[in-house]
């Protein structure tokens, strides 16, 4: 029997029992669908995290107070000054202070937001252009100017109908002039609105708005991507010197680069994706057992048909291939339906639940391959059972 004849014969027999074939394939359909959807959701959120971290800036190096129990923050303006003068691998640097939940009054309304104290390099490092007006200059820093740059959300809340440029706002009790508007940046990996900010010059923030004078973090751009490691170790040694740490003592700060941040962030997502895919994979195997079950029933039920086929000249191999190809086709069809279903589910998640999904062709290929393998593996035993029937017994079977 040629392959074409074999395929038509198996497809015919599958479509002869539409309902049963569908129910048989259901396990595979669900299995393939859930594997693809799980991986799509996992890699979708992973891709989003990576994109957002990349959006944090180019060749970014961050210095933060150490995480964990030794939380004392010892970053100061002196550290920034030392880094700026001594480092040879840094092209841009900014200190950053954050004041969450600060009340802003402006226009005819008020708004509670986070106020950032930053330096002019901030928008270079973060790759965050100003949409209108200007950002701070070095002069604004030294003169502790009371200038503010608004994020898009804050601008919309305080000045819904007018141009905020040149208007006054009050941060706490201090009046500021709005000199610029930042471009829209959107939500970050955690879903927080990055446009809900007000930027003021770092020195202004430290001297006019804050009491403790500690820097929350220092952010820098390395000269080039290839110099990231060198820059990182240079930053570490300069800061250790600045903090007068003895050799061998633990650093009282953390230096991280962008790829490390990405790695930390995607590690969790990756583990979760793998776990979900493994659980979904189990349902594929269960689906395969379902196929074996039905094929075994089918062999018993169609014993007479097998006898008839043998009596008109089918060899053992013909019967074996017939049943094997039926189970392979069943699982392949299940796989194809599963893929279509998965594409629909992934689209629906993205469209209606705003869950980022990324359906990769390699996962589709792998799950179809796996479905076919399941079909062969679980179809072989029933097929062999059919092929080994004795023609007379099969013919006389009631």
């Amino acid at each position: 029997m040629t392959f074409a004849k074999l395929s038509t014969a198996s497809l015919r027999s599958i479509f002869r029992n539409k309902m049963r074939s569908f129910l048989t394939s259901l396990g595979i359909i669900i299995g393939v669908c859930s594997v693809i959807v799980m991986v799509a959701v996992g890699s979708g959120s992973q891709a989003l995290i990576q994109k957002q971290i990349a959006a944090m800036g180019t060749n970014l190096i961050m210095v933060m107070p150490p995480r964990g129990p030794r939380t004392a923050n010892r970053l100061t303006m002196a550290d920034i000054q030392k880094l700026r003068t001594e480092s040879s691998y840094i092209s841009a640097i900014t200190g950053e202070v954050r004041m969450g939940g600060t009340n802003i009054v402006g226009g005819s309304s008020y708004w509670s937001t986070t106020v950032y104290g930053v330096e002019p390099d901030y928008i270079v490092i973060k790759d965050w252009p100003v949409q209108s007006g200007t950002f701070f200059s070095d002069k604004d820093i030294t003169s502790r100017a009371k200038s503010a740059v608004l994020g898009a959300t804050v601008a919309a809340k305080l000045f819904p109908d007018q141009d905020p440029l040149g208007k006054y706002i009050r941060i706490g009790t201090t009046p500021f002039t709005v000199v610029g508007l930042l471009a829209v940046k959107g939500a970050n990996a955690q879903g927080a609105d990055q446009d809900d900010v007000v930027m003021v010059p770092l020195d202004t923030a430290l001297n006019r708005l804050m009491v403790d004078g500690r820097i929350n973090s220092i952010e820098m751009s390395a000269v080039s991507e290839s110099l990231m490691t060198a820059a990182q170790s240079e930053v570490t040694s300069i800061l250790r010197e600045s903090h007068k740490l003895a050799a061998g003592a633990d650093s009282d700060f953390d230096v991280m680069n962008q790829s490390q941040i990405i790695q930390t962030a995607s590690q969790t997502a990756q583990t979760l994706t793998a776990l979900l895919a493994a659980i979904a994979g189990v349902s594929l195997i269960v689906g395969g057992i379902g196929i074996m079950n039905i094929m075994l029933v089918s062999v018993t039920e169609r014993t007479r048909e097998i006898g008839i086929r043998m009596s008109v000249g089918a060899r053992k191999r013909d019967i074996l291939l017939q049943f094997l190809s039926e189970s392979v086709f069943l699982s392949l069809l299940g796989g194809i339906i599963g893929i279509l279903l998965a594409l629909a589910v992934a689209y629906g998640l993205q469209r209606f639940l705003k869950t980022p999904t990324l359906v990769s062709p390699s996962v589709i290929a792998a799950s179809v391959g796996f479905a076919a393998a399941v079909g062969i593996f679980f179809g072989f035993y029933p097929a062999r059972k059919a092929a080994n029937l004795y023609p007379i017994d099969a013919l006389r079977h009631e």
């Binding site: 008839i308 009596s311 089918a314 060899r315």
Partner: protein, 254 residues
């Protein structure tokens, strides 16, 4: 030339510790163009003989030469090829594939053809169905056909590969008188055109339509006679129809 040559055929089954001797040594020659009925009570070994003739079962002892081919050493694949190529089966229960059209049922032996024949299977199956008078029923499923029609589909399937002989196992066992006559007249027609037919039956009436009757008992042939007053099934069918038309007419009149 003898198309079937059985020499010293024995078939023993081992059931538990008891050996059942279903056939205890049979010699038989069937010539081309013969129409043979094998008769006998149940347990006489005629089914076993049938299986042997059909290459569905291997004899314990003896030799079986079919169309010049010694089959006692054949493997199961070779047996399958012989069944495909040399033998056309007709069964009591028709044994058509359900939910499969008449045409596809008749095509079945051609599907397993390994001789590399170039003839179009569809055309051949169609021709075979036309020959048994079912040219207008090609796409009917078995459950849409009467018993007689189903058996004719089975006969079409048996002859579609032009086998050396047709082997029929109680072909009329499930049929009423009219359908029996229909099927027997078809067999006679085939036989008249030169086809060899071997048929197992336990109905003496049916055996009268054949040319030669072999009676079996206890696994051996007890008689082998030529049919003297051979009946023509087609004539009987016509007569039967006439009688029934008359009966129906009388009933309607009263």
């Amino acid at each position: 030339m003898a198309i079937i040559e059985l020499r010293g055929i024995k078939r023993h089954y081992l059931v538990g510790e008891i050996t059942i001797k279903a056939i205890r040594g049979i010699d038989l020659d069937v010539e081309t163009g013969e129409f043979v009925a094998i008769m006998g009570p149940s347990g006489s070994g005629k089914s076993t003989l049938m299986n042997t003739l059909g290459c569905l079962d291997k004899p314990t002892e003896g030799s079986y030469t079919l169309d010049g081919l010694e089959t006692s050493k054949a493997t199961s694949d070779e047996f399958a090829d012989i069944r495909n190529d040399k033998i056309g089966f007709v069964f009591q229960g028709f044994n058509l594939l359900s939910r499969t059209s008449a045409l596809e049922n008749v095509e079945l032996p051609l599907l397993y053809d390994r001789s590399g024949s170039k003839l179009n299977p569809k055309a051949r199956a169609k021709a075979a169905l036309e020959e048994v008078g079912l040219g207008n029923r090609l796409d009917h499923m078995p459950n849409q056909l009467s018993g007689g029609q189903q058996q004719r589909v089975a006969i079409a399937r048996a002859m579609v590969k032009d086998p050396a002989f047709i082997l029929a196992d109680e072909p009329t066992g499930n049929l009423d008188s009219e359908m029996t006559l229909e099927v027997m007249s078809l067999f006679q027609k085939l036989n008249d055109s030169g086809k060899t037919v071997v048929m197992v039956t336990h109905e003496p009436d049916v055996a009268l339509y054949t040319k030669r009757v072999i009676a079996m008992r206890d696994g051996a042939i007890v008689s082998d006679t030529q049919v003297k007053d051979r009946r023509k099934a087609a004539d009987d069918l016509a007569a039967w129809k006439k009688d029934h038309a008359q009966l129906a007419g009388e009933e309607a009149a009263t």
